[in-house]
């Protein structure tokens, strides 16, 4: 055995990578003349010490769970789906059409239909890159990037020319009817005596995201399809000899991935804005990459990483509000996390592996 134990691979490596990213981020904060300790405590104060802060943290986390799961499902088949952003945009369109054109009696029906609409549109947007990868061998990374731009242009066109209410100036749809208003955490958990989550956008779609985590876990580790996806990811030639069709796995995996990314729109469009706006995704599709990498493509890891990024997002907003640190700090932290947990993984892993092997040799 020349490998390190599983726990070190699953926990220790990401933790060290995260620590490196944190140290560098602290260095960046120092360099722009602020105190990292103050900044961190302000972030904790704003994001975790009040229920409203948690309400925002979990709202963002809901987005990142969906996009993180989307990226990780694709990763299991060794496909890199950078198109989460575009798929989520199209998902928003699906939600908007469902909410605007069908009169729903109750939100519980609307959220199911909205989720289906979002997943359908998101999956549809992933279908073309998936098909091109499977049948024509065009690189899925490039095509999904291209589809992000095409999605932005398409959404722009649809919002400006087709769905914008008459007389409105900003490119957005009309407000959704009140019947599809999703209960927020405030509606659900507040009582007159103890107001909780006041004004925070976290809503019932968070539970939808938790459900998605569970279903993805079942899919990947407890179904035949999940086994085929993982087998294909490990070795496509072995999978082909075992009678697994690469075309089918590529397309199906990308449909699931796109659907998950699209479902993010239930949270942003139905849960928060209650209409479809131009930039509803706010880069969450890309954060999914960081979340999936940090969560080691496991739903529980994705959940934890998504909450961490939700905290960073909400904390970053607090920082921008109270200090001179712009929100872009979060983009830098996100970049460092992707760099250390993704691209520079071996930098942490190699010395650690060597240390473990040396330790084992001494004991033997």
């Amino acid at each position: 055995m020349d490998r390190m134990p599983n726990w070190a691979d699953a926990v220790l490596v990401p933790l060290i990578s995260l620590l490196l990213a944190a140290i560098l981020s602290a260095g960046v904060i120092l360099a722009i003349g602020e105190s990292p300790v103050d900044a961190f405590s302000l972030m904790v104060e704003g994001a975790l010490m009040r229920s409203a802060g948690w309400g925002y943290t979990l709202y963002y986390a809901t987005n990142f769970i969906f996009t993180g799961l989307a990226v990780s499902v694709a990763f299991h088949a060794r496909l890199f789906n950078i198109g989460g952003e575009g798929q989520a945009m199209l998902g928003g369109l699906g939600v908007a059409l469902v909410c605007l054109y069908i009169p729903w009696p109750h939100w519980s029906l609307a959220i199911v239909a909205g989720a289906v609409g979002a997943a359908l549109f998101g999956a549809l947007w992933a279908l073309v890159p998936a098909y091109l990868q499977a049948k024509r061998g065009s690189h899925i990374v490039i095509t999904t990037i291209m589809f992000n731009f095409i999605a932005a242009a398409l959404l722009n066109y649809v919002l400006v020319n087709l769905l914008r209410p008459v007389g409105a100036m900003d490119p957005a749809t009309a407000r959704f009817p009140d019947a599809v208003h999703l209960p927020t955490f405030q509606d659900m958990f507040s009582t007159a005596a103890t107001p909780l989550f006041r004004g925070a956008p976290a809503n019932v779609s968070f539970f939808l995201a938790l459900l998605a985590c569970g279903l993805v876990w079942l899919l990947i580790w407890r179904t035949r399809l999940g086994y085929e996806i993982r087998a294909f990811g490990h070795s496509d030639s072995a999978a082909r000899y075992a009678g697994i069709s690469p075309v089918r796995i590529t397309v199906v995996t990308m449909l699931i991935s796109g659907g998950l990314a699209g479902m993010m729109a239930v949270n942003t469009t139905m849960g928060e804005a209650e209409r479809l706006v131009m930039n509803a995704t706010e880069g969450a599709g890309f954060i999914g990459i960081a979340v999936a990498l940090m969560g080691r493509n496991h739903p529980i890891g994705v959940l934890l990483a998504a909450i961490l990024f939700g905290f960073l997002y909400q904390g970053g907003a607090e920082l921008a509000l109270w200090t001179n640190i712009p929100r872009e700090l979060i983009v830098v932290i996100q970049a460092l996390v992707i760099l250390f947990t993704g691209a520079l993984d071996n930098m942490v892993r190699m010395p650690l592996e060597r240390a473990f092997l040396a330790g084992r040799k001494r004991r033997a």
């Binding site: 960046v28 360099a31 722009i32 003349g33 890199f80 950078i82 073309v128 091109l132 024509r136 061998g137 065009s138 690189h139 990374v141 490039i142 095509t143 990037i145 291209m146 589809f147 731009f149 095409i150 242009a153 398409l154 722009n156 066109y157 400006v160 020319n161 890309f286 990459i289 990498l293 001179n324 640190i325 712009p326 872009e328 700090l329 979060i330 983009v331 830098v332 932290i333 996100q334 970049a335 460092l336 992707i338 760099l339 993704g342 691209a343 520079l344 993984d345 071996n346 930098m347 190699m350």
Partner: protein, 321 residues
């Protein structure tokens, strides 16, 4: 459309194609050596900021250019470290670099200038001025050729001419020098290069370094030539369009020139005309914006000839033991 309008559209095509061309050639060097680079965007952005910031602080556009190139090469070094030394995933590293540049430029801009993530507008001396080529004035009255020479060929900043000269230079380096042969070989069959006793790692770092240099030129041109200063996210997807052009060009320098001119033309037309009315059918401006990406997908799908990337592209090289 009259002749003068046509000239103006072509003139802005040349201006808009320049950053695409530089970034596209940058990607060409990197990918020919087997290193995928989707971080062109980030490198251009970083260079645009540091070029504009340095030019604003020192008043010298040449120092700005140097700073831009240096910043772009630092990011290249990170990409090289991650994808060559530590054999990480090149695509993930590229994504990280794009975000790093997007965040850091605004963060530093806010810290240095406190103008909401932009640099102050550059004055004379802080920008690359347009150069009037010799005889442009005297030839201008000559019909057809005169205006073409005076309007289209003359009157661009130095970096535009550098970019266009980079095309034959790239061709010469890649296809007529020993270094170029080895660089292409390392992208196709690194094990063969290694067997011949040439360093795969050294060649790939050289390619990534050239890529950083060219991206630096592209970014500096954006902020100090095309526009007068840096604004947040000013590359606006140009790195990805350059990547699209690279595939469109099937990783060849001369084709890259035509692909970049085509995409530059699309941008110029979209910029000049909003919605294009073709006798009843109106082409919305959004379609023009999306056209480079749609074209790339069509090319990738292999409907217009197959684009075959360098064979060892994206694969880290592991020496056999």
């Amino acid at each position: 459309m009259d002749f003068l309008t046509l000239l103006q559209v072509l003139d802005s095509t040349v201006r808009l194609a320049t950053p695409l061309l530089l970034a596209c050639l940058a990607g060409l060097f990197s990918e020919r050596a087997g290193i995928f680079d989707i971080g062109l965007e980030g490198k251009m952005l970083a260079s645009a900021f540091f070029a504009a910031a340095t030019a604003a602080l020192t008043g010298s556009v040449w120092l700005g250019l140097l700073a831009g190139i240096a910043s772009s090469m630092v990011l290249s070094a990170i990409h090289g470290l991650a994808s060559i030394t530590f054999r990480g995933n090149q695509l993930i590293s590229g994504v990280a670099i794009n975000f790093l540049a997007a965040g850091m430029t605004v963060l530093i801009a806010q810290d240095w200038f406190a103008q909401g993530g932009r640099t102050p507008s550059l004055m004379v001396g802080g920008r690359f001025e347009d150069i009037t080529l010799p005889l442009a004035e005297t030839l201008a009255p000559v019909p057809i050729i005169g205006p073409i020479y005076a309007e289209l060929i003359s009157g661009h900043s130095i970096l535009v001419y550098v970019a266009f000269l980079c095309v034959p230079a790239t061709w010469w380096v890649l296809f007529r020098t020993r270094f170029g042969l080895r660089l292409r070989a390392v992208g196709e069959a690194p094990e063969a290069v290694d067997t011949a006793g040439v360093s795969v790692i050294g060649l790939r770092f050289a390619a990534v370094g050239i890529c950083g240099l060219l991206c630096g030129l592209a970014g500096a041109y954006l902020a100090t030539g095309l526009q007068a200063g840096f604004v947040k996210d000013m590359t606006a997807g140009r790195g990805y369009i350059a990547l699209a052009a690279l595939i469109f060009a099937k990783w060849r320098p001369w084709y890259a020139l035509w692909a970049c001119l085509l995409f530059g033309l699309l941008q110029a037309v979209a910029l000049r005309y909003q919605n294009i009315d073709l006798g009843g059918i109106v082409i919305p401006v959004q379609f023009m914006d999306a056209l480079p990406y749609i074209l790339t997908v069509v090319i990738l799908a292999g409907f217009v000839g197959k684009a075959i990337p360098p064979r060892a592209g994206g694969e880290p090289y592991v020496k056999e033991r």
